[in-house]
Amino acid sequence: MTITSVELIAKERDRLLQRSARVIGLGSSAVALLCFSIPGVLEGTTLLSVLPLFVVLIFSQARVGASMSLIWIILGLTSGLAILIVVGLPFGTTASSALATAMVPLAAGSLASFAILLTSNVRRMIMLVFGFLTSVVVTEVTIGAPTVATMEGASVALGWVLAAVLGYWLSASVPRAARRIYSIGRAHRAERQASETEAQRRQGARLLHDTVLATLTLLAHSGVGVAPSALQQQANDDARLLRQLRLGATPVPQSSGGYNLEQPVEESALGTTLESVKQRFGRMGLEVSWHGTGQVLLPSDVLDAFLLALAECLENVRRHSGVTDAHVTITDDETTVRAMVTDAGVGFDLKDIDEARLGFKDSVVGRLKEVGGNARLFSSPGAGTTVVLEVPK
């Protein structure tokens, strides 16, 4: 957890305490004022003289709701105690039971509400004890009953105890909850990392998805033009690979045997992999003839991109060219491996066909560019199509 978290949670805790103190304090002041205003409870002049003190008290309580400063607490306690003293004047006489009762919401509610904010450190605790004792004593003295302790005094003591317990309990509750939240947060972080790793694993299985995508694309065309048994065989192979991926394995396609997802080496030979592509298109009814070198080593991510782009081109040939065979010529020099995919099909006018519609831009150009390669497309109506794919070695 960062420092900011600790600060933030402390701030939220203080705010909760302040709000609680404010709502209890203001509510109690309102009730106290109501009780004092009942005709006959106080002399008119006494009532008028405590009103300014009530204004100060209520103002401090409102301020306490937004600030932890001790000044407002001191101001509030002082004005509240002053009210108690003024209504009890002159000393030595016993207050009426109505007046004594009317003091209770003031001393046990309004003043005690400040106790909520007085539990966090030693200095505040000293003030808490001082406020508690003063409130009880002033209440007892102003009531001036012949007995040592009155019911009202006991109620004031209760109010302070309840407020202090409330303040203490709330201060403890927030960090407790925060600790549990942080443990949820840690679990969530682990979950996020696991999610990231899992996404990488699945995205990393590109060749597997390549064959799955090709099969799905065939199915999207209802499987027309492909022998049902071949398509079923292909679907079976692909479903098995996906199942293995789902179960956490790194699946090894057996039908083609060409690409190997758990291959530990950084570079893979092109030749065996090309054979698997050829077999797959053979099943789909497109005869692919290979020319040129088959023994080129490529980094595996480059190989992935290269093969996917190649397969995508062959799929386009199969679907759009109207012919059943395609030629792939692989050449390489010091820096580049180049594949030329040609067919003698219907071809098209480059201006008429939106490249994106062929999936060319996303799946061919995009993939190759990711590994620093490139693709170029040549075609004209009636003259077939040629695609040149280039990747760096």
Binding site: T4, S20, G185
Partner: protein, 418 residues
């Protein structure tokens, strides 16, 4: 790359993606479920301890009530009903405490009904005892304690139920007062106090519990979002692997049903179109996977930030920030928009473009980060915000349209050197 936080409803091939909720997580996905579960847990998180505290308050008040009763025990014409009332009240509180301790923090309907019935019995017995004394406000003890007793159920039942019970108690008190007590300046303060004490504990308690839950929700949201700080430069977000797994599974099932012959070839047009959209979505997830940064995910996944923060980061520069800078930036944004309870305050965070050349000595590049806000006055900003911002880099703050604007020069390692 566009980094407005709204998830695209439609992908580049015109396929409508799964419906997403505000966090950008598909509602039906596992991630969405986890989010909801976390929020549900958040609602009850820590309130158990709070409930215990409320019970402690009720118990303390009960002891005081018994002392009050004993102090004028001699004035009661009949002691039996009031003694029974206190006995029943104590029994009820202890019973609920035992039930919670043994059965867990729950109060099923039947238990709540029993609880209310017992409390009603306490009130009835107390009223029976003080009826002939003609001063309900002064002599009511157990029935006033019932107002505090309701606190026991504070965190276990819905607020409305507690409030209704408290109001019923106050109503009973008012009726009893009107029927027995002569109202004059001598008796009135005590009556007012008694009625107020019936409802005040519940109202204050509910207010506090609501605030507490709000704090917990906010903190939970913040902590969940903070986990993005440690993400790699480009991350897939919580939903990516869920989505990919879902698509893989759907593809597997479709292929399997074709392989076993359950789905006959050639495919029906409807199944074919399912295959088409699966292929498209899968392709997109594989190719377009990781273009977003941690900050994008943090904002889209957060309830709090999602509705008030807009991010513009065309170069995905947020990914270059180190964990300390990320923490600072996220905290600053959080402090700016979460601090205001009323009024809509928003923040717009823009990263880049990088214009300056890398520092020749340190090899660091400067990413300009600009935060413009609405509804946030310069002098109302929490002091912790400035600390957080200074963790991101050297900054200059100003006011634009009477709201805060901060420009930060964030020094990051040059990705070309890595």
């Amino acid at each position: 790359m566009s980094s407005g936080w709204t998830a695209p409803e439609e992908n580049t091939l015109g396929v409508i993606l799964g419906r997403r909720n505000r966090r950008g997580v598909p509602n039906a996905s596992t991630a969405g479920r986890a989010m909801r579960q976390a929020s549900a847990r958040g609602a009850s998180l820590g309130t158990g301890y709070l409930g215990t505290g409320a019970s402690v308050l009720a118990a303390v008040q009960g002891v005081h009530g018994i002392a009050m009763f004993l102090s004028h025990a001699g004035e009661y014409p009949r002691l039996l009903p009031i003694a029974l009332a206190w006995f029943l009240y104590a029994l009820t509180l202890v019973g609920v405490a035992i039930a919670i301790a043994t059965r867990g923090e729950r109060m099923p309907n039947w238990m709540f009904a029993l609880f209310l019935l017992a409390l009603a019995g306490v009130v009835a017995l107390d009223f029976t005892a003080i009826w002939p004394m003609h001063d309900v406000g002064r002599y009511a003890t157990a029935s006033v304690s019932v107002g505090f007793g309701l606190l026991v159920a504070l965190t276990l039942r819905r607020g409305r139920e507690i409030l209704i019970a408290a109001l019923l108690l106050a109503a009973a008190m008012v009726v009893a007062i009107v029927m027995t007590t002569p109202l004059n300046d001598e008796t009135l303060p005590a009556q007012i106090l008694a009625v107020v004490l019936c409802v005040a504990p519940s109202i204050v308690g509910l207010y506090i519990v609501r605030w507490f839950r709000r704090i917990v929700q906010l903190e939970l949201d913040r902590v969940l979002v903070q986990s993005t700080v440690s993400a790699p430069r480009f991350a897939v977000g919580m939903l990516a692997s869920e989505e990919l797994a879902r698509l893989d599974l759907a593809a597997e099932e479709l292929l399997d049903s074709v392989a076993t012959g359950r789905t006959e070839l050639p495919l029906a047009p409807k199944t074919a179109s399912v295959a088409a959209s699966l292929a498209t979505e899968l392709r997109l997830h594989l190719i377009e996977g990781r273009r977003e940064t941690w900050l994008y995910h943090a904002i889209t996944e957060s309830e709090q930030l999602g509705k008030s923060v807009t991010l513009t980061d065309r170069g995905s520069l947020a990914g270059l920030l180190n964990p300390v800078q990320r923490d600072g930036l996220l905290s600053a944004v959080w402090l700016l928009v979460s601090d205001k309870r009323k009024g809509a305050s928003t923040a717009q965070v823009t990263l880049g473009p990088v214009t300056a050349l890398p520092d020749p000595v340190t090899k660091l590049i400067t990413v300009p980060v600009v935060m413009t806000t609405t509804g946030i006055a310069r002098n109302r900003v929490d002091p912790a915000t400035w600390d957080a911002i200074s963790k991101v880099g050297a900054f200059v703050d100003s006011t634009q349209n009477s709201s805060l604007r901060v420009e930060i020069d964030c020094m990051v390692a040059n990705p070309a050197d890595q």
